[in-house]
Amino acid sequence: MKSRSIPLREVYVWEMPVRIYHWVNALCVVALCITGFVIGDAPAIAKSTEAYFNYWFGTVRFIHFVFAFLFFFNFIFRTYWGFAGNEFARWNNFIPLKRGQWKEIVDVIKVDILQVTNKRIGSIGHNSLASFIYFLTFLIFLLQCLTGFGMYSAMSSAFLPKMFAWIVPFMGGDIMVRQVHHILMWGFILFSIVHVYLVFYHDYIERRGITSSMIGGWKFIEEDVIKRHNDKTENRPQL
């Protein structure tokens, strides 16, 4: 039997709201990409019939709109939690303003992407590169909401979509808004592929329980990493 014994500590990293946000977001992205694809390139399902008997395309669009609202409010909530959540969920993780974060980005590129050096990355939540990529995805989320609700605003008199009506003249017309919305969808797809792969990769290499941490919230962190973390954050609550 293969086994190992190393000093580990369980750390509660992802609070319940973060986990709920994550899975709602995942559901929304999957639903929106599938329905978005169907809307953009409609399959020939119904044929030789009258419009009176069908509404499947309208239903697909309806599902897209419902998930769009869910996605939007979920995103708003996560932004709020970036100010209210624990230290791993805070906004300052996501924007590399400190020298240490840039240093860690370089380290992660060397260790995990190019694999030219071997070194343990000392972050407990997201590493700095991952956080920065998430920040970029948040920008894509924002643009996707702007363009999506911008297109929606012309057929709605509701307050929320109307707030986004300005994006259409800003981008010169619906054609460009639609094109940008379509291109950004590919950003979501590419991100998801890499995201899932990297979760597999990190669990395979580090065995900190990264996959299950998004279910239960807890990670197994090496004691020396915890010690380094506590040294850095002396004036804050210790783990």
Binding site: A42, N54, V168, D174, I175, Q179
Partner: protein, 367 residues
């Protein structure tokens, strides 16, 4: 304003239009403009009492299809008067005068009606080299700047004057610009379309005369009464769209049954115009009703967002006919290959971490 100018009504009566037809026209216009029934009286009053609008009508880089459209209005009273009598003012295509007399007529309009005359523009203005469009030895830009200085408002007819249309399409050799990009300080009404619907053009003129102010405009300068809804949202084939019934090719059964033209590249979902409601040629038909997808002619840059028969525009810089989907799929495959490579390299280079023999743990701890 000069009081010796006859009103629209007087001109129309002189041309043999009956009072009944005149009232029909006023009622139609009120309906197009979305006015309540009292608005009809206002229009009748205005057209009977107010003198005809003094108009200078310029043709710059264009094909005159806007003028062609205007004379095909279902109730051509305004069009007839504006275009027939405009020869007294200035309209390059239709005026009888030429040379010195023409220039004189145009200067007279500006002199006699300061702050009152309307400048109507067909066509875009070259800015790359102004010599691309010169009339009477002066460039389009010079002429326009002079005419606009004392005008009341500017009406930009059609896509050329509103957004540059085909002249401004990539690579835009003349540096063609729409009116609102080259002048400032005056209200510009963008009456979009290639050409605009005749009744929309008449509606704008009637509105200017009746209410003495420009109609309510959207953020792109188009009159809201005519451009606030998508062709798609007012299309009689819309039920087929929601039902997922699409024409797959121009000669299939769906085309015969009048299914939705979405998959034939119809730009109705991204185009704001009144084609689905007012239609063309006295309400006879409009492109979609005739079985052809909308090409989006009332949207800026519709030439560059082609092809006409493909819903998703081509992405520039990736060769001919490359859509966002093709690029996305390519990047997706590249990502998958990259991931496979990374996974293989990981198994080789991170062998120690994966096996993680206890003795190596202390080694990594030392680092």
């Amino acid at each position: 304003m000069e009081s010796n100018q006859p009103s629209f009504y007087e001109e129309a009566r002189r041309d043999g239009v009956s009072r009944k037809d005149f009232l029909k026209f006023c009622t139609t216009m009120a309906a197009f403009l979305g006015l309540e029934s009292s608005g009809v009286t206002q229009i009748v009053e205005a057209l009977k009492t107010k003198p005809r609008l003094p108009v200078i009508w310029f043709h710059f880089q264009e094909c005159t299809c806007c003028s062609e459209s205007f004379i095909k209005a279902s109730h051509p009273i305004v069009a007839n008067i504006v275009l027939d009598k405009i020869s007294l003012d200035y309209q390059e295509t239709l005026m009888a005068a030429s040379g010195y007399q023409a220039e004189e007529a145009y200067k007279l309009v500006m002199k006699n009606n300061p702050g009152e005359y309307i400048v109507m523009v067909e066509g875009s203005i070259p800015t790359e080299n102004e010599a691309y469009c010169c009339i009477g030895g002066r460039s389009a830009l010079q002429i326009l700047e002079e005419a606009v200085e004392n005008c009341k408002a500017v009406v930009a007819w059609g896509n050329c004057a509103s957004a540059g249309c085909v002249q401004a399409a990539s690579p835009n050799p003349t540096g063609a610009q729409p009116v609102h990009k080259v002048i400032s300080g005056k209200p510009v009404i963008n009456v979009q379309g290639c050409p605009p619907i005749a009744d929309v053009m008449a509606g704008v003129v009637v509105h200017l005369l009746t209410f003495d102010r420009i109609p309510q405009l959207d953020a792109l300068g188009r009159p809201k009464a005519f451009y606030s809804r998508r062709v798609h949202d007012t299309c009689y084939r819309r039920a087929n769209f929601d039902a997922g019934l699409f024409v797959e090719s121009f000669d299939d059964e769906g085309a015969k049954r009048g299914y939705c033209l979405y998959k034939m590249g119809c730009k109705g979902p991204v185009t704001y115009n009144s084609c689905g409601i007012i239609k063309w040629n006295d309400g006879v038909s409009y492109p979609i009703q005739s079985g052809h997808p909308c090409i989006g002619c009332s949207e800026a840059g519709f030439w560059d967002n082609g092809p006409f028969y493909q819903h998703l525009p081509d992405v520039k810089g990736f060769g001919i006919e490359t859509t966002a989907d093709k690029i996305g799929l390519g990047l997706g495959i590249a990502t998958a290959v990259g991931i496979a490579g990374h996974a293989i390299v990981t198994n080789i280079r991170k062998h120690h971490e994966i096996e993680n023999i206890e003795s190596t743990v202390s080694e990594t701890n030392k680092e």
